[in-house]
Symmetry: C2
Subunit: 469 residues, 2 copies
C-alpha cells in the first residue's frame, strides 16, 4: 500500500513550523509548540535571578542583624521594576523589551521580538503562579508549625486586635483625609481601606525566622493577621461596591462573612474528623512521596475551596496545616515541606519586591511632592493605628504589647492589592495613589527589623537567633 | 488641596474591571489581573488531579509487582485525552470546554467562557513548565545519585550501545518501510528517526525505583540514554532539514555534535574546578535553604545553557548533578532534593500519560486498521533494534545483557516529540502517524515491567524492592 497522494499534501507553513520546532528540540512534554522550551528557558533564567537576589539579600541582612525576609524583599526591589529591570511583569505596563531576562534570552537564543513577547507573557504567568504557590506553601508550613489549641486560646485577643487594627486606621485615615486634606469621600475611603491590611506572608515569615511563632505574642499576631485577611476581603468588597454603585451591598458582605466563618470552622472540624483516616491511608501506602503528596492534595483542595468561594487560597492551606499539625505525621511532613518552602517561598517575596515601584519616592516628580504630605499622614496613621492594637490585648499579663502592635504593621502584598484595585477603579488620583504606595513600602520594610528589635529586647529572647536549616 | 477634577475622570470599563477584581480578591502578587487567582485555582485543581492519579496508579502497580512509574503513566492516561478528559492541553487541539478541570472551575467560580479560555491557556502553560521542571529535577537527582567515575568507566560500552541503538532501528525501520510497505523515503526516514529515541526520563526513573542505578548495567543504560538523547537531537535536526530542503545540513550537524561535546565535557571540567569554592560558599552562608538554592542556581544555569545552545535543559541538570555528586554536600543535597522531586516529577509522568492518545488503538477506525500492520512492523524493529544493543557490551563478563537492551526500549516523551515534529512537517500521513504513536505507546508501557522482571531474575536482586522514602 502506497500513500503517494497523502504525502504530497503538505503546505509551506507546516514546513516552516517544523523547522522552527526542529531548531529548538526538546524532549519534554509540551514540546509540540515551538515556544515551550523557550518558556522553560525564560523561567529558569528568572528563577536564577530570583534565587541569587534572595540569597544575596538575605545573607547581607542577616549579617547586619536584620531579618532575612527584608533582604529578599530588597533583593527583589534591586532586580525589579525600580532598578535593574531583570524581573518585570506585563501587569505593570511593561513589555518584553523592558525585561532584561527576556532580552538576554533573545540574544542567546536568537528569537524574534514577536516570539519574545509571547515568551514574556507565558514566563510572567508561570512566575506569578509559582509565587502564589510559594505563599500557599508558606501558610501551609506556618499552619503546620502552629498549635491549633494555643491559637484558639488566644482567639478572643486576636479577634479584638484584628477588629481594632482594621477599624482604627480605617476611620482615622478616612476622616483625616477628608477633614484635613479635603480629599473627596470615595478616594478617602479607598486610602482608609488600604490602611486596614496586614501582610500575613511577611508577618508569619518574620515570626518563623525569629523562632517566635509559638509564643503567645506570635499566636496572637498570627490569629489576628488571618482574621485581618478575612476582614480585608470584606472591606475591599464593600469599598469596590461603594465606588461602583455608591451603595454598600449588604448581601455581598453577609455572604463573605458567613462563607469565611463556615469555611474556616468547617475545614478544621471536618479535617479533625478525617485525621485518623488520613494517617491510616498514608501508613498503607507503599510508594515514594506518599505523605507529602497526600498532604499537598489535602492542602490544595482546601486552597481551591478558599479561592472558589471568593476568600483566599492561603486561608485554605493555613487551615490544612493547622489540621495536619494535630496528627502524628506532623514532624515528618514539616521536614519534607521545608525544602519545598525553601524553593518556592523566596519567589513570592522577591516578586513582591520586584513589583514595588520605588519611583514614588523620587522627590523630583511633582506628583510625588504633592503626595508626600498625604503619605506622611498615612504612614503615621498606619503605624499608630496598628500599634494601639497591642494595648487591647487583655488577660495576658507580661505580654509584649509593642511586639503585637508592630507585628500587625506590614501591609506588604495585601496593601499592593488595595492600591491596584483603587487604581483600576479610577477613583484615585496619581498623588493619592503614590501616597498609598509610599505608605505600603514604609510599613513593609520597617516592620521586620522593628519586630526583630522588640523581640530581642525581651531578656528571654537573647541568644535565640535564626537557625540554619 | 482638592482633586475634584481628577476624581470625576473615571470610565465605565474601569469600574467594571474594578468590580471583577473586587469579587475575586487575592492577596498574592499578580492579583492586578482578574484571572490571576483563577489561574492559581485551575493549577491547584490540576495538581490535585495529577497527584491523585499518580498515587492511585503507583499504589496499584506496586501491589501487582509493576514499577510505580508505569502506574503514573497509566494514571495520566486515565485522566488525560484518552479517557476522563480531566487534563488536556491546547496543543492537542483541545479547548477550554474539553477540559473537565476548567469546566468544574467554570461551574464553581461562575466565570464566562472567554475567561475560561484564557485561564485554560495559562493553566496549561504553567502545568507544562512544571512538568518540564519536574524532568529537570529528576535528571538532577539522577546525576546526583550517579558516580561520574563509574559512568566514565563504562563510557566506551555506553557509546557503542547508544550508537548501535540509534543506527540499527533507524536503518532497519527506514529500509523496511520502503522495501516492504512501499512508503516514500521522507516519511520512512521520519518513522525510522522516531525509532531511535530512548526516554531518559522513564529509563532513569525505573532504574532508581529498582535501586539499580548504580549497577554496571544501570550506568551503561544511563550513559547510553544520555548519548542517545544527544544523537536523537542530531537525527531530528537532520530529518527536519531533509524534509524542508531535501538536503542534509552538514553545518548544523557539525554544530550540534561540537556543542554537545563541548557542553558536556566543559560543564563537568569547569564544575569540578569550581566544586571547592561551592562548598566554601555554602559553608559561609547563614540563611535557610543555602545548600538547596545554591545548587539549584548551578543546575538551572547549566540547564539554561543546555537549552540555549539547542541541546536540552535536562542534559544541563544531569551534568550539574554529576558534578555536585563529587562534593561532600552530596548526601545533604540528595535528602533536600527528594521532596522536591516527589512533588514535581509525577507532574511530568502524568502529563506524558495524559498527552498519549490511545485513540490510535481503536480498531474500528479505518486509519488505525491501515496503520496496524505498519505498527506491528515498527514495534518489532523498535524492540529488536534496542535489544541487540545488549549484545554489543564488551569487556564486562557476567553482565545482564538483556537488562541493558530492555533499558533502551522505552521511547516515551522523546518518541512523542518525533511524532509531533513529523506531523507538523506534513510529511506523515494519518496511518503512519498512528503507527508511530502505537509503537511509542507499546515500547513505553512494556519496558518498565520487563526491566523489573529481568533485574529480579538475577539472584542478587531478590529482596531488593522499592523503598519508601
Amino acid at each position: 500500500m502506497t500513500h503517494s497522494i497523502a504525502w504530497a499534501n503538505h503546505s509551506l507553513p507546516d514546513f516552516f513550523s517544523s523547522f522552527l520546532i526542529a531548531t529548538v528540540p526538546d524532549a519534554a512534554p509540551g514540546a509540540e509548540s515551538a515556544s515551550s522550551s523557550l518558556v522553560l528557558a525564560a523561567v529558569l533564567l528568572t528563577l536564577i535571578v530570583i534565587y541569587a537576589a534572595s540569597k544575596i539579600g538575605a545573607e547581607i541582612c542577616t549579617r547586619i542583624n536584620l531579618p532575612a525576609v527584608l533582604g529578599e524583599l530588597v533583593g527583589g526591589v534591586v532586580v525589579g521594576i525600580s532598578a535593574l529591570h531583570l524581573i518585570v511583569f506585563p501587569e505593570g505596563g511593561f513589555e518584553a523589551a523592558d525585561s532584561l531576562v527576556i532580552s538576554f534570552l533573545q540574544l542567546t537564543a536568537n528569537i524574534s521580538s514577536t516570539t519574545a513577547t509571547a515568551v514574556f507573557q507565558s514566563e510572567s504567568e508561570v512566575i506569578s503562579v509559582l509565587a502564589e504557590l510559594g505563599v500557599v506553601i508558606l501558610l501551609f508550613e506556618v499552619g503546620l508549625e502552629s498549635d491549633l489549641k494555643e491559637l484558639l486560646k488566644v482567639g478572643p485577643q486576636a479577634t479584638v486586635v484584628a477588629v481594632v487594627g482594621v477599624a482604627a486606621p480605617f476611620i482615622a485615615g478616612t476622616l483625616g483625609l477628608v477633614a484635613l486634606f479635603g480629599v473627596p469621600l470615595i478616594p478617602a475611603i479607598f486610602a482608609g481601606a488600604a490602611l486596614t491590611a496586614t501582610s500575613i506572608g511577611i508577618t508569619s515569615r518574620v515570626l518563623t525566622e525569629l523562632g517566635k511563632l509559638n509564643t503567645t505574642e506570635g499566636q496572637i499576631i498570627l490569629g489576628a493577621a488571618v482574621l485581618d485577611d478575612v476582614l480585608g476581603i470584606i472591606v475591599l468588597a464593600v469599598v469596590a461596591g461603594l465606588a461602583k454603585t455608591g451603595e454598600i451591598e449588604i448581601g455581598n458582605v453577609v455572604y463573605l462573612i458567613v462563607s469565611a466563618a463556615v469555611f474556616l470552622i468547617g475545614a478544621i472540624l471536618v479535617g479533625r474528623l478525617l485525621n485518623p483516616y488520613f494517617v491510616v491511608l498514608i501508613n498503607k501506602m507503599k510508594t515514594r512521596g506518599e505523605l507529602l503528596l497526600t498532604s499537598l492534595v489535602f492542602a490544595f483542595i482546601l486552597s481551591y475551596i478558599g479561592g472558589a468561594i471568593r476568600l483566599e487560597a492561603i486561608l485554605g492551606s493555613f487551615a490544612a496545616g493547622l489540621v495536619l499539625a494535630e496528627t502524628e505525621k506532623q514532624e515528618d511532613l514539616q521536614k519534607q515541606l521545608s525544602p519545598i518552602a525553601d524553593m518556592l517561598v523566596p519567589i513570592f517575596f522577591v516578586t513582591v519586591g520586584a513589583k514595588t515601584d520605588l519611583g514614588v519616592l523620587n522627590p523630583t516628580n511633582p506628583v510625588n511632592q504633592e503626595g508626600l504630605i498625604l503619605a506622611i499622614f498615612l504612614i503615621i496613621i498606619a503605624i499608630i493605628g496598628k500599634l494601639i492594637t497591642g494595648l487591647t490585648v487583655f488577660g495576658k499579663p507580661g505580654i509584649n504589647r509593642l511586639a503585637v502592635g508592630i507585628g500587625m504593621i506590614p501591609r506588604g502584598e495585601v496593601g499592593l492589592v488595595f492600591v491596584s484595585v483603587g487604581a483600576a477603579s479610577g477613583t484615585l488620583n496619581k498623588a493619592t495613589e503614590a501616597a498609598i504606595i509610599m505608605m505600603v513600602i514604609v510599613t513593609t520594610f520597617v516592620a521586620p527589623p522593628l519586630l526583630r528589635l522588640v523581640f530581642q529586647d525581651k531578656p528571654q529572647a537573647i541568644g535565640e537567633v535564626e537557625t540554619k536549616s
